[in-house]
Symmetry: C2
Subunit: 686 residues, 2 copies
């Protein structure tokens, strides 16, 4: 027996339904769902343990569709199992406001573990989910209490396997020996440009062997579900390596154009769908049909999973009784509550403290929090640990025990020089419950992995990006490493906070604000160079986004200087110079423009009084600062390699230049007659 | 004989000098130069053919230091050979304004082929240079006239080999069978975080075998230069595969801390340098010493290369005589002159032409130019050919002849789903002489490879990014594919032009402006959806960046609407609505803000008259538009999956909303008393 009758019926139903759904939307990808139906049905019927009655069951298996364009398949599976996904939702595929967007979105749809579609992300997220499982298991499991032992299953295609982010993450997965990660590679030999022969002829499995993965091949993935099932069983039996199973399939199986690229990205034509239905024993004149026996088969599987979860919940109850301390901690972490009083651990500073780089001040926060106060923090760096200062004193590396370099309960990840992989893995870790990932690299290399970072924002993931060496202030490494343009990107990105703290209190405040928001990623832009501690800063005030540095400032100024991070002290020094020439100057520190935007108009106008010209100072592109200022001191070219003070002088980001700009602004607007309002309140949405 | 006495002296000189240079700068990376000195000396003495007397010799071998942080090595080699790199330049290592920045920069320093440092880029650029060589050879070589037959040599380290961009490019290089690409892998087992055992344990050579590369190992790269040399000879003998040679070395060889991470990223201490000099037979009290025999050895090599070039130039002269047509064409292309009258081939449109997507209009330009008019164009797509519309009708694929899928003289590259790799490869192609690369993907995936794209800008490379599906207008694929934030990045990036053309004439104009600028990369943001042709557009006017759509506009307006791309026609429709309520409205199309910024104040004020409020309309983040407008209609959240017109309506990017915003702006500023000046002229630099 290769495939049972009922399984074949389920597989054919999925294929026909995928054709109907994409046809109904007049948009979408029928080919991959039709080709992947056998492996998906096999996976869900026999392996994936998820429970529609409790989609957040902590020990559920994670299923990720890395080729997210095939999401009609995933939506159909969710519907069949009984998740919150109605037939109407399926019919609303790819419509505004639906639960069934063109690619699956975690923040939107129950049962979607991660947001996929941008190729290579899902498989890389899966590495993060598998890391999270190993870490939670090593942290909480006790003899006879396997609280965490779920699998992470992925379906992925040729597209994902060509993306660099996938290479990075999968290389690390092999190193980490993540035995509960199982990937099913849908090898249909077709990409958008045609046969993979035009560009993708590498030996994929040999590459994965080189990474340290277990590899298998299933030669007939269209029919032989037994061999798919056996391969998955084999993969489960290998506990010290991630597994990839290459499954040969036919894209658009059942279509007149099966095996052709044209089934990939657009609906089948109506005639083709008719013959498809006839071929698979469906009424060609009916649409969106699910035979009762198919529902029953899937609902029975859901009931099995519900039983499995009930057993697990019983075990958890016993665990909590036997290990009340661990049980309470586990409960807290699964509920996503931070420990009581954690904010008290944040370091605080006065202007008498020694000038310090914010990357070092960030290290002080990490030391204060990550060791014991917030044990769900799981950190790392893309091979810049000593530069990013991301490792706390008592940290243990997350490593396979056999390496003698750490343990799976360790919470410091050596990501290697793999920025994009790190970001995608962090998204995966954040998608598990009970862990908060942070990771470091130079700010300039945030854009090596923006594909993943924007998905942190879109998918509402609390990921903390510790981005050091944040401006021309990094000095000697030069313009190849000086991020002029990067914060324009992060500030333009919705649902993301960009912090550029100016001193110790603001650095503590940035972490405070970032950690408090459990559906928003944060970018911490941190200096290489030392900065003085400000008079008037506090961790709490960072929540306001921007504030007046009172002791330095005039209540009724002629001009306001606004700055971020390393330039706040330059602006303050510029204010001192300007004051000597008789100007009344206010200095505003703006650690987070996005939080400032959230404040009331009254507050914003209290910081930037109407009629007072504002000069912005930031050692990055001036682009975007027109929103908060009337003149800008910053970068309009790439930076330069040199000692950082010389670089600042070269680009005229100096106290004297700030003072000069302030003087000229006052004069100009006096002549002009009025100062533009920074916060005009009008428009149909105002 | 393992290493000759003079070669050993050269190697030791390089090591000592690298220690002096980094010590002198009090910054930099001595470890890799010291470890790589034997392979570098072997390579340059016996293989790399470059000529300091003619650094631009078209058939020179290309040498790339992919681990660009080791650039002290490269600068020393350039100095020894006699390039424009004095001892004073070496002493000015990592100083502002020097020729010797912290990482090598192509636009700055003679003999530097590509800008490296950001890891993974150099090896990926090398793939582009090797593609370019193959293509130029296949195009111009004749029997007995091997005009192009140079090698591309790369040194790279563990860091580069972990980066995804490298995986993408090297996989493609294997597919393309680039036999003249030879990579020397400096395997010193050390990264910044310590031993590679902490994160990088894959079998690198097995991976490269999987890609289709030829692989070799040299076990003693510290001493056995004979085996390094033999391995390079072997690699040259393999003509249908790229080669990688893994060479075991000791980082910081000669230092007291050789083999340790601490020699990687900071200068050796003075005592260590003294013992180093003693160990290698140098006077410990002297600095920056190059023995005369070392100079002589390198200058002799340079003389050899000069002879080789003379022979080549003779051959070229004969070639030009025998094949005058090809010779003239070759001369033109090597001089970087575009063909006479190429602009006449650009398509032109009137409002009567059918509405068309700008991606299709881009295809029309490519069809008009790439086939015959500008034969140095070499295009491609990251597996989205049919969506990006990047392939011209007569295109032949660039493929190894053995595949029967194309030829090496083909100029259409199937990049596969490898965006970052594609961008880095395009930088490499642009760095060769005689080719102009363009490549397509969705605009959203520009940020999969921004690491390479920013280097196009920094290194002054004419690379054309054909970025389609440029906004929420892509519709059903949803927010995972809708680039809200991306143009904030490109516009904040120095030396890069962002074009968002609104119709056929502007699309032609965008290509015209992009092609005319041979030291600037251009981003073309193009729609999926159809757009009407505007009344008043022209290819030439795009050079102004922004202009008044005269026929639609009032000479003395109450309000101005400025828009780009697909929103220009929405703004024009909004103007019609607003006019019905009695307002005088001007419409400005702004295909390129950066070119607009270059215009005279007089011109800019003629477009945006003082005292007239401006409403900006763009279906992307409003971030940054405060520079050109007083109110914005655009995106402040992620987009949505749905039919594009519904998505526009959902986010209120509609003619009615634009009209409403215009009406409110007029009213608001009437009450406020004055309209802010968009172009205040003041400040110490004004």
């Amino acid at each position: 027996m290769v495939t049972s009758e009922i399984d074949q019926r389920c597989i054919d139903t999925i294929r026909v339904l995928a054709a109907d759904i994409t046809r109904g939307a007049n948009s979408g990808h029928p080919g991959a769902p039709m080709g992947c139906a056998p492996m998906a049905n096999t996976l869900f019927m026999n392996h994936v343990r998820v429970n529609p009655r409790n989609p957040d069951w902590p020990n559920r298996d994670r299923f990720l569709l890395s080729n997210g364009h095939a999401c009609a398949l995933q939506y159909i599976l969710l519907h069949l199992l009984g998740f919150k996904m109605s037939m109407d939702d399926l019919k609303n595929f790819r419509r505004v406001g639906s639960l069934t967007p063109g690619h699956p979105e975690r923040e939107l749809t129950e049962g979607i573990e991660v947001t996929t579609g941008p190729l290579g992300q899902g498989i890389s997220n899966a590495v993060g989910l598998a890391i999270a499982e190993q870490n939670m298991a090593a942290t909480f499991n006790k003899p006879n209490y396997p609280i965490f032992d779920n699998y992470t299953f992925v379906i992925l295609g040729d597209g994902c396997l060509q993306e660099g982010v996938q290479s990075e993450a999968c290389s690390l997965a092999g190193h980490l020996q993540l035995g509960k990660l199982i990937a099913l590679y849908d090898d249909n030999h077709i990409t958008i440009d045609g046969d993979t022969a035009v560009s993708f002829t590498e030996d994929v499995l040999k590459r994965f062997e080189a990474y340290g993965w277990h590899t298998q091949v299933v030669t007939d993935g269209d029919h032989n579900t037994d061999s798919i099932n056996q391969a998955i069983e084999n993969a489960k039996a290998v506990t010290d390596k991630p597994s990839i199973i290459k499954i040969f399939t036919t894209i658009g199986f059942g279509s007149k154009h099966q095996g052709e690229e044209k089934t990939h990205g657009s609906p089948l034509d109506p005639e083709d769908i008719k013959q498809l239905k006839q071929r698979f024993g469906f009424n060609p004149d009916e649409k969106y049909v699910i035979p009762p026996e198919v529902y029953e088969h899937y609902h029975e599987r859901a009931r099995q999973c519900d039983e499995i979860e009930k057993e697990w919940t019983k075990m958890l109850t016993n665990y909590v009784n036997e290990f009340p301390k661990e049980g309470a901690e586990l409960k807290r972490r699964l509920e996503g509550r931070l420990p009581e009083g954690w904010m008290n651990a944040l370091p605080r500073y006065t202007p008498k403290d020694a000038p310090t780089a914010t990357r070092k001040l960030s290290e002080a926060v990490i030391n204060a929090l990550a060791s014991e106060v917030i044990p769900e923090l799981i950190g790392g760096s893309a091979d810049l640990t000593g530069s990013n200062n991301t490792r706390w004193k008592s940290a243990v590396d997350f490593q396979p025990p056999s390496t003698n370099l750490g343990s799976y309960s360790g919470r410091y990840i050596r990501y290697g020089v793999r920025e994009h992989g790190m970001f995608a893995i962090m998204n995966g870790i954040a998608a598990y419950q009970g862990l908060i990932p942070f990771g470091g690299t130079f700010l300039n290399f945030l854009t090596y992995g923006w594909g993943a970072a924007r998905l942190s924002a879109l998918s509402h993931s609390r990921v903390i990006y510790v981005m050091t060496h944040d401006s021309i202030g990094l000095g000697e490494d030069g313009p190849t490493h000086q991020p002029i343009e990067t914060l324009s990107l992060t500030r333009a990105c919705p649902n993301m906070l960009t912090f550029r703290p100016a001193d110790g209190n603001e650095t503590s405040g940035a972490y405070m604000a970032a950690l408090k928001r459990d559906t928003i990623p944060s970018i911490l832009a941190l200096t290489r160079q030392n900065l003085p501690h400000l008079n008037g800063s506090s961790p709490e005030i960072v929540e306001k986004g921007g504030y007046v540095l009172e002791p330095l400032s005039d209540p009724n100024p002629d001009v306001t200087f606004v700055a971020t991070g390393s330039e706040v002290s330059i602006a303050a020094d510029g204010a001192d110079i300007a004051r000597k020439s008789g100007l009344k100057v206010r200095v505003v520190s703006m650690p987070c423009t996005e939080l400032f935007d959230e404040q009331s108009l009254q507050y914003r106008q209290s910081v930037f009084p109407r009629g007072v010209p504002v000069v912005a100072v930031e050692a990055l592109s001036t682009f975007g600062w027109q929103k908060y200022s009337h003149a800008q001191v910053g970068m309009t070219t790439f930076g330069s390699s040199g000692e950082y003070k010389e670089v600042y002088a070269h680009f005229k980001i100096t106290p004297q230049h700030v003072a000069d700009m302030g003087r000229d602004a006052v004069q100009y607007f006096k002549n002009y007659g009025s100062v533009p309002d920074l916060f005009p309140q009008f428009g149909p949405c105002a």
